[in-house]
C-alpha cells in the first residue's frame, strides 16, 4: 500500500509547473540544470529556483531531438533536446536559463545544441577528467567560482555567506533523509518500495526544496510509525541492484520488466538515483568548500578509471550492493552511452571476483527489444533464485 506522504509528493509534483509559472510572474527566475557535478546549492543560495531537467522513455521525443543532435548521441540527451525542440513540457517551458556541466561530453554537447538552435542562455561548468590530482581540485574550484559569477550576472544577485550556509544545511538534511528512506526500501518489511523511493527522488528535481525536505521528513515519520508490520516470506526473492546509465523520470521499461519477472529492486548507484546524495561532505560553507565536496564524491562513469582496484566508483558500487543485500546487479547501458557501455565488462569482472553476478542490458527507448530484454532478465532472476535456493538448502 502506498504511503500517504508518497501520494502527497506525487500530487505536489503535478501542481508544481503552475507554481513555477506564478513565481516567474512575480519576478523569480527558474534555472533548468543537468549534470552530475553541478552544485545545485549555489543556484538555490542565489535566490534562483533550480529544476533538474531531462526525461527518458519517449521515443517520439528522441526522434524530434535527433533533428538537431546526432543520432550517435545517447537517447537520453536526444530526448532532452527533443523536450526543448517540442517545447511542450511544462517544466522546460518555465525555465529562464540553463546550467549544464561537462562531466559527460554528451551533456556538454546538449548545452551547445540548446544554445545554438534554441537561443537558450546556458551556463556551463567545466569538469576535470581526473579528480584525484591536486591540480584538478584547483581547476574545478576555479570553474565553480566562475560558474557562480555567471549565475550572479544572470540573476542580478550576489552570493550571501549566510544564505549559502543555510542552503548547505537544508541540502545536507535532504541528502540525509533520502539516504534514510533508501535504507527502508531495502528492508524485508517492504514499507516502501524502491520504485516509490525513486519517484520521491525525482520529485526533488522540481519541488521547492524546503517543502521537499518537509515531505521527506513526513515520509520518514510515516515509515517509523509503520515499523513492526509482519515481513513477507523471504523465500523466492531475487534482490536486484541497478547500475549503469541514467534512468530518468519517464523511463520505466527496465523497471517494469524486472518487476514483471519477479525481481525486486533494492538499490542503485544511478546518477538519477541515490549516488548524487552520497558522500557530500562540505567542510567550509564557501564556494570552494562546495566545489571540493562535489569533486570528492563518487565519480560519474564518464570519468576514467585510474586504478581499477582503488577506483572510488567501483568501490562504492561493491559497498552498496552489500549494504542493500543485493543478490545481483543489472547493469543498464543506453545505446551510445559510451561512458557506461565501455566499462561494462570490467565492472562485471570486478564484481564476479566478489561472487556478485552482473547482467548487462543494452537498450534504448523504443519498445522493440522488450521481449528480448525480458528473456534475459527473467533468466537472470531465475539464476539468482536458484542460487538462493541452493544456498538456503546447503
Amino acid at each position: 500500500m502506498t504511503l500517504q506522504s508518497v501520494e502527497l509528493i506525487r500530487k505536489r509534483v503535478a501542481e508544481r509547473p503552475a507554481e513555477l509559472a506564478e513565481a516567474r510572474t512575480n519576478g523569480q527566475k527558474v534555472v533548468g540544470w543537468q549534470g552530475y557535478n553541478l552544485p545545485e546549492e549555489l543556484i538555490y543560495a542565489l535566490g534562483l529556483i533550480p529544476v533538474r531537467i531531462g526525461a527518458g522513455g519517449d521515443d517520439r521525443l528522441v526522434e524530434i531531438g535527433a533533428r538537431y543532435i546526432s543520432t550517435k548521441n545517447c537517447v537520453y540527451v536526444r530526448e532532452t533536446v527533443g523536450l526543448f525542440a517540442e517545447n511542450k513540457d511544462p517544466i522546460v517551458q518555465n525555465t529562464d536559463f540553463l546550467a549544464f556541466d561537462a562531466t559527460c561530453l554528451q551533456t556538454y554537447r546538449t548545452a551547445e545544441i540548446l544554445e545554438y538552435y534554441f537561443n537558450k542562455e546556458v551556463v556551463v561548468l567545466g569538469v576535470p577528467r581526473n579528480f584525484y590530482w591536486p591540480e584538478a581540485q584547483v581547476y574545478f574550484t576555479k570553474e565553480v567560482e566562475h560558474f557562480t559569477g555567471r549565475l550572479e550576472e544572470l540573476s542580478g544577485a550576489r552570493l550571501d555567506h549566510d544564505k549559502l550556509a543555510e542552503t548547505i544545511e537544508l541540502y545536507n538534511r535532504i541528502r540525509g533523509a533520502i539516504v534514510e528512506i533508501y535504507e527502508y526500501q531495502a528492508e524485508r518489511e517492504r514499507l516502501i518500495s524502491w520504485e516509490e523511493t525513486y519517484d520521491i527522488i525525482h520529485a526533488g528535481y522540481v519541488l521547492d526544496r524546503k517543502e521537499y525536505l518537509r515531505m521527506l521528513e513526513g515520509t520518514l515519520r510515516e515509515l517509523q510509525e509503520a515499523q513492526g508490520r509482519p515481513a513477507p516470506e523471504e523465500e523466492d526473492e531475487a534482490r536486484i541492484f541497478i547500475s549503469g546509465s541514467v534512468i530518468p523520470p519517464g523511463d520505466k521499461k527496465l523497471i517494469h520488466i524486472i518487476n514483471a519477472v519477479g525481481g525486486r529492486i533494492v538499490g542503485d548507484d544511478l546518477w538519477s538515483g541515490l549516488i548524487p546524495y552520497l558522500d557530500v561532505h562540505i567542510g567550509e560553507n564557501t564556494v570552494e568548500g562546495v566545489a571540493l565536496a562535489y569533486i570528492n564524491r563518487t565519480p560519474h562513469g564518464a570519468l576514467p578509471y585510474l586504478e581499477l582496484e582503488t577506483d572510488k566508483r567501483i568501490k562504492r558500487l561493491k559497498e552498496l550492493v552489500k549494504n542493500y543485500k543485493a543478490h545481483g546487479v543489472i547493469y543498464h547501458t543506453l545505446r551510445y552511452c559510451d561512458p557506461y557501455s565501455f566499462k561494462a565488462k570490467e565492472t562485471k569482472d570486478v564484481l564476479a571476483a566478489e561472487g556478485i553476478p552482473l547482467l548487462e542490458i543494452h537498450t534504448e527507448y523504443s519498445g522493440s527489444d522488450y521481449e528480448a530484454i525480458r528473456t534475459r532478465i527473467e533468466a537472470f532472476v531465475e539464476m539468482l533464485k536458484i542460487r538462493n535456493f541452493e544456498t538456503l538448502r546447503n
Binding site: A372, T375, R376, E378, A379, E382, M383, I386, E390
Partner: protein, 265 residues
C-alpha cells in the same frame, strides 16, 4: 497397470516446437514439429504428439513446463521458465560434465556457462542479428537449393574455405549469389559461411568464458559443418551428445517440471 506420473517440457521456438515427456527421470516420449503461426496451438500440438509417442494421455501429466519464445502463451503449462535455464538443465541432464553451452536456435544464439550443479552461472545472448541462427542457415540453404539438413554434410566435402565476409542475412545472400555466379563450388562457399558465423558469434562466447566440456544445443547443433567450424574457430572440442541436441531445452523444461512437482510448486 499402475498409473504413470509423467512430466512434460514444451519448448516453443521460432522454427520448431520441441516436446519431451519424462517419468522417473527418463525420457519416455518426444516430438519435434514445425512451429506455425498460432503459438498456443503449437504448444498443444507438440504436447499431443509427444504424449502419443510416449503412449500416454494428458491425464498422465502431473506437471508441464513451457519454455522458448512461445512460453508467454502457454495455458497448458503449470509454469514457464526461460530457455536459458532450461537449456542449462537439459544439457546437464544429457552430459553432466557440461560447463559451457553453445545454443543456436531458430532466431537467436546464446552462450551459457554452468556451475558444477548444472545451474546457470553466466550467459550472453544474441538476438539482434540473424548470424548463427537457424533462420540464417535456412535462407542460405534456399540459395543453394538444398535442404537445411544437407548444408552440414555438403560443407565437409569442401576443398577450400572461401571467405564470406557478411553475416547479415541480406548481404550474405547476395555475396553467396555473386560467388556462385563466379563459378565457385557450393561446398566451398558453405564452409565459408559456417566459418563466418563462428567468427561472428565467437566474441560473444568468449565473453562468458568458454570452459570444457562444451555442449552444442539447438536445431543448428545438428549441422556437422557448423559444429566443425565452431571447434576450429573457438579451439574447442564439442562433446558428442547422447540425445538429440535440439531437444535440450524441452528436456530441461521436463526436468524442472519434475522437480517443481516434487517441491509442490
Amino acid at each position: 497397470m499402475s498409473k504413470v506420473t509423467a512430466f512434460a517440457g514444451v519448448d516453443v521456438g521460432s522454427l520448431g516446437t520441441k516436446t519431451v515427456i519424462m517419468a522417473e527421470g527418463e525420457i519416455i516420449g518426444s516430438a519435434i514439429i514445425r512451429t506455425g503461426i498460432n503459438t498456443e496451438e503449437n504448444g498443444w500440438n507438440g504436447l499431443n504428439a509427444a504424449l502419443e509417442n510416449a503412449g500416454l494421455t494428458r491425464d498422465d501429466l502431473a506437471y508441464v513446463v513451457a519454455t522458448g519464445y512461445g512460453r508467454i502463451s502457454a495455458p497448458y503449462a503449470n509454469k514457464t521458465v526461460t530457455e536459458i535455464t532450461c537449456h542449462a538443465k537439459g544439457a546437464h541432464y544429457i552430459h553432466p560434465q557440461t560447463k559451457t553451452i553453445i545454443d543456436m536456435g531458430g532466431q537467436d544464439c546464446k552462450a551459457i556457462r554452468l556451475d558444477d550443479d548444472g545451474n546457470v552461472a553466466d550467459f550472453a545472448m544474441n538476438d539482434k542479428c540473424a548470424a548463427g541462427t537457424g533462420r540464417f542457415l535456412e535462407v542460405m540453404a534456399n540459395v543453394f537449393k538444398v535442404s537445411l539438413d544437407e548444408l552440414g554434410p555438403l560443407s565437409l566435402s569442401a576443398t577450400e574455405v572461401l571467405p564470406v565476409s557478411s553475416t547479415c542475412t541480406v548481404f550474405a545472400e547476395s555475396e553467396t549469389v555473386s560467388l556462385l555466379a563466379r563459378g565457385e563450388k557450393p561446398e566451398n562457399i558453405i564452409v565459408g559461411i559456417h566459418h563466418a558465423i563462428s567468427k561472428r558469434v565467437g566474441g560473444m562466447f568468449s565473453r562468458v568464458g568458454v570452459q570444457n566440456d562444451v555442449f552444442f544445443s539447438g536445431g543448428v547443433a545438428k549441422n556437422v559443418g557448423m559444429r566443425k567450424a565452431l571447434e576450429e574457430a573457438l579451439q574447442i572440442k564439442i562433446v558428442e551428445p547422447r540425445k538429440d541436441p535440439q531437444l535440450a531445452g524441452a528436456i530441461g523444461a521436463a526436468v524442472i517440471a519434475e522437480s517443481a512437482w516434487k517441491r509442490g510448486r
